[in-house]
């Protein structure tokens, strides 16, 4: 460490990094389940990043001579009706599913998080409008509303991301609103106001950073729901088009073969989906326990 930290400019980021690492080690050490979930998460990120590079076969190449083969040494997860390697398709699909979930969570964080913080901080009309919008969205069964939005906006992957973000809006808006509301008259806010900061500056520079830990837990908790929602939409035939490998649509393609005994076509993408959602939920629970121990269940 001492060799690295020769200049004053280098010292700050290095100590920041070690602090982050120490904190991460503490989080993982605190609860072995969270540690497990975290390593699973790393695996998913690696799969999403490397995808086509680690897949043993081309996910789109069909080879009818090996169609509908059960799992074997050559094809670990078996092959589908066109002889495509299920393992390769499951691996390559990770990137698309992960991207859909990350994008929709990021989008809803921007929309719901900012709207909620503003509602909780300013109160009044901002609060009334944001709360009314959230209530209206909550008046729908969420998956049904997502179907309606995709049907109206058009049947594309982008619209699946938008629909998933919209149905999650109330969750984010409410959490952000409650957290901002508690802090609107806090000491640090009054200090910031006294030193001449404008309201928007206080909102973005002081309130928002303070509620970030809770929002990050929220993002981790809704990530699993986002993946489930997106996969459900593509299972009923929305968004992703058939040859593209994606977990939901792969389960849909394999469902016809479930009744004739070729279980592996639907099973492996479904299991991958389940493991991913499970991982995000465990990670979210673990993070919540650390950030907010009172809500531990």
């Amino acid at each position: 460490m001492s060799e690295v930290a020769t200049g004053a400019g280098d010292a700050a980021p290095a100590s920041g990094l070690t602090a982050t690492l120490r904190h991460a080690r503490y989080i993982i050490g605190e609860n072995p389940v969270t540690g497990f979930a975290f390593s699973l998460f790393t695996l998913i990120v690696i799969m999403a990043a490397l995808g086509p590079l680690v897949a043993p076969y081309d996910p789109l190449a069909s080879n009818t001579s090996v169609a509908l083969k059960p799992p074997s040494a050559a094809h670990w997860f078996g092959t589908d009706q066109l002889g495509r390697d299920v393992l390769s398709r499951v691996i390559v699909a990770t990137r698309l599913d992960f991207t859909i979930a990350v994008c929709s969570v990021a989008l809803v964080f921007l929309m719901g998080g900012l709207a909620g913080v503003a509602a909780g901080f300013f109160g009044g009309w901002t609060d009334r409008i944001v709360s009314r919008v959230a209530d209206t969205i909550m008046a729908f069964p969420l998956f049904v509303l997502a179907m309606g939005i995709v049907a109206a906006l058009g049947n594309t992957v982008t619209n699946i991301v938008i629909a998933t973000a919209i149905v999650n809006f109330p969750l984010y808006a409410r959490v952000a609103r409650a957290e901002a509301n508690v802090r609107r008259e806090a000491g640090f806010v009054q200090a910031a106001r006294l030193s001449g900061n404008g309201e928007y500056r206080i909102l973005l520079g002081h309130i928002l950073p303070n509620i970030m830990p809770i929002m990050i837990v929220q993002m981790s908790l809704t990530m699993g729901y986002a993946i489930l929602n997106a996969a459900g939409l593509s299972f009923i035939g929305l968004g992703v088009r058939p040859p593209t490998p994606e977990w939901g649509i792969m389960v849909a393609e394999g469902s016809a073969f479930m009744v004739s005994g070729e279980w592996w076509i639907a099973f492996f993408p479904g299991a991958a989906l389940m493991v991913a959602v499970f991982c995000f939920n465990l990670l979210g629970d673990g993070l919540r326990d650390i950030v907010d121990p009172q809500r531990r269940t």
């Binding site: 729908f140 069964p141 309606g148 469902s255 479930m258 639907a266 499970f278």
Partner: protein, 337 residues
Amino acid sequence: MLRLVLKRLAVALPSLVGVVIVTFLLTRALPGDPAAYFAGPAATREAIDEIRSKLGLDQPLPAQFLRYVADLARGDFGISLTTGQPVATEIRTRLPASAELTLLGLMVSMSIAVPLGILAATRPGSIVDHTCRVVATTGVSLPVFFLGLILVYIFYYLLGLAPAPLGRLDIYYSSPPQVTGFYLIDAAIAGDGEVFRASFKQLVLPALTLGIFSLAPIARMTRASMLAVLASDFVRTARANGLTPFTVIITYAFRNAMLPVVTTLGMVFSFLLGANVLVEKVFAWPGIGSYAVEALIASDFAPVQGFVLTMAVMYVSLNLAIDILYGLIDPRVRIEA
């Protein structure tokens, strides 16, 4: 009590107005020209113009909205492009299939989750408690369509216990004379034991799928609220007075612990109604969910809109019913109102 009902209605009304506004906006958000869309691909310029004035699309947005509300008030949900049938009739004939499945699913999950939650709360740290936690975490992670397929594979393909996942009744049977639209009840009314058994067999797997899926929040909530109630003073007093554990848990604690569980039912219904669509697709169930899915694939918007509206209205009414039920169970809520 009447005041409570009126107060809850006043809360539900803005939700309904919001639902109607959102579904209206969704129609206007359709890509391209709605008139050209409703006229179909082979329409001429004149036909499109005619449809535009017929649909009132040449009028300002508020006027269009009034017209839309008036249509809805008359029970007119529009015409399906693919079948040429009015959407409202189609939804009305298919609704009982979905309702029967959803209600049975809810019954399955309640009858497993509530005892599980109570057992877990009375024996913290025991095997039952751990099972409850694992079930709760797994339940929320399971993609419901995947769970349905697994059950089909095990019980239909491997064990041969369940019938093929193809709708409400095997083709060898004809549906019972319609009274309620619920095959189980209709068959029982007609006294037809064979049809009753056949439709029950078809229902078991999809209802079980929905039940397992919605089990998690109920079990979790029952456990948490039982734990809180068991730690309270009146339970300690009851125990100190020498009441049997059974009386303490069932008569004293359980009745108080059920209140938060009833509140969670609102969220459970949101899950159930959404999951219903996916389960209907897996089991080829002829309900409103599969109707909407077929329409979605064919880009036929009127049925989808009718479906979203029906589901939302049902969901708002269910929440209203839960609120009123809450008032019936808990006298304190009535006094506050």
